[in-house]
């Protein structure tokens, strides 16, 4: 009897379904990703049980770093045409008699992360093209009573965008003195409602624990 000879074929794996799934996963990840902008100071937010997400618009965020520097960030509003950021900067400029050019205002509008630059250095900061020069200028916003620029930023931010909401983002190890100063300044400007930015950590107390 002759042996049945199987054709020797190279074992070939069909990759098409794999490619299909990969494509789907990749598309999903690409669409859902929100690229994080590098912040001028590294901040580890504390944990809380709060489940309210950070609002996307109409917020002013104050970043309090571990070494007591204050940085601020505003958004441009729900519609980029509103362009709140350059308006706020223009108001600040008017107060300090600094004329910002259109290019500088546009640069401020586009700047993606928090800024902690004294207003006197702002022009230099916006004109600088490389990141190293910019980082060197990030000294934190002056908050002492002699030259309280943070209070003015808050004032003009609220003037330009009355619905703006104050958010505080601090590191777990940020000293309370800084926090208290910022809270004081905000309260002086009649902002009594704050949102503290935290990470979620679920903790629940059950009934049995209470009845013990």
């Amino acid at each position: 009897m002759p042996k049945i000879k199987l054709p020797t074929k190279s074992p070939h794996i069909d990759m098409t379904p794999m490619v299909d799934t990969f494509c789907v996963v990749l598309t999903f990840l690409m669409l859902t990703t929100t690229m994080r902008q590098p912040e001028p100071a590294n901040v580890d937010s504390p944990f809380s049980i709060s489940e309210t997400p950070v609002p996307d618009f109409n917020r002013m965020t104050f970043l309090l770093s571990v070494d007591g520097k204050v940085f601020m960030n505003f958004d441009n509003g729900q519609d980029t045409l509103l362009a709140y950021r350059p308006k706020i900067l223009a108001e600040m400029g008017k107060h300090y008699d600094i004329e910002f050019t259109d290019a500088e205002l546009r640069e401020f509008q586009k700047y993606p992360s928090s800024i902690g630059v004294p207003i006197t250095d702002m022009k230099q900061f916006l004109d600088a093209k490389d990141a190293a020069t910019r980082n060197a200028l990030q000294k934190g916003i002056p908050i002492d009573s002699a030259d309280n620029q943070l209070a003015l930023w808050i004032l003009y931010a609220r003037k330009v965008n009355p619905t703006i909401q104050a958010c505080l983002k601090g590191d777990t190890k940020t000293g309370f003195e800084t926090v208290e100063k910022v809270l004081d300044i905000l309260q002086e400007k009649n902002v009594n409602r704050f949102a503290l930015i935290t990470n979620l950590e679920a903790t629940k107390i059950n009934l049995e624990e209470i009845q013990q």
Binding site: T8, P53, Q187, L196, N199
Partner: protein
Amino acid sequence: MAEIIVEEKGKGKKRAKKHAPHIDMTPMVDLMCLLITFFMLTTAFSKAKVMDIILPEKIKDPTKQAPPKIVASRTLNIILGPDNKIYTYPGSVKPEEYSAVPPILPPLSPTDYSAEGIRKLLLDKNRMLARKIAEFNKQVISGKITIHKDSVKSEISKLKADDDTGPIVLIKAYNKANYGNFVDILDEMNICGIASYMFTKIAWYEEKMVENAAGISPTATSSN
């Protein structure tokens, strides 16, 4: 890579194979694997959350507005101390009482931010309300009460408003405390369902009390 090339044995003429043109997908898969890994590692799925806090309005003219009166027997003072410690004392202290010789001071008891520390203390004081809230939550979860998800919160705040047995917590921070402590204690208020709490400025005699308890020399304090 995925294909193992086997040498074909056999005699005779080699014939051109007649199967469909085949594209090797392996490099594509490799690339996609890389991209997926990159995106998976860089994506931040959990968005940051916010915790709302409303501070009492600053009284700008103390002659016009008297500070709100609080029942001393229900008051619990929580002072956020240095080195992740909490100091609590019940009732209130008047500056005269501190200056009196010998000073009339309530006992300042140290505790910490753990579940066994401040949470236990707060739950003990807030048992009635905490039980009501926990029971309500349980009924919602088990389906005994059918309620819209959005109104659960307002229902709980109604329970809180009706409560008149729980403590009135005054939170104060010594200047060596940190931001994490501040968030932790507010979080603890939410966890324990404290109906009324307030964040206020620390008084000078309370600073002194903390310094005595923690063994810090008073010269180390700043002007505020």
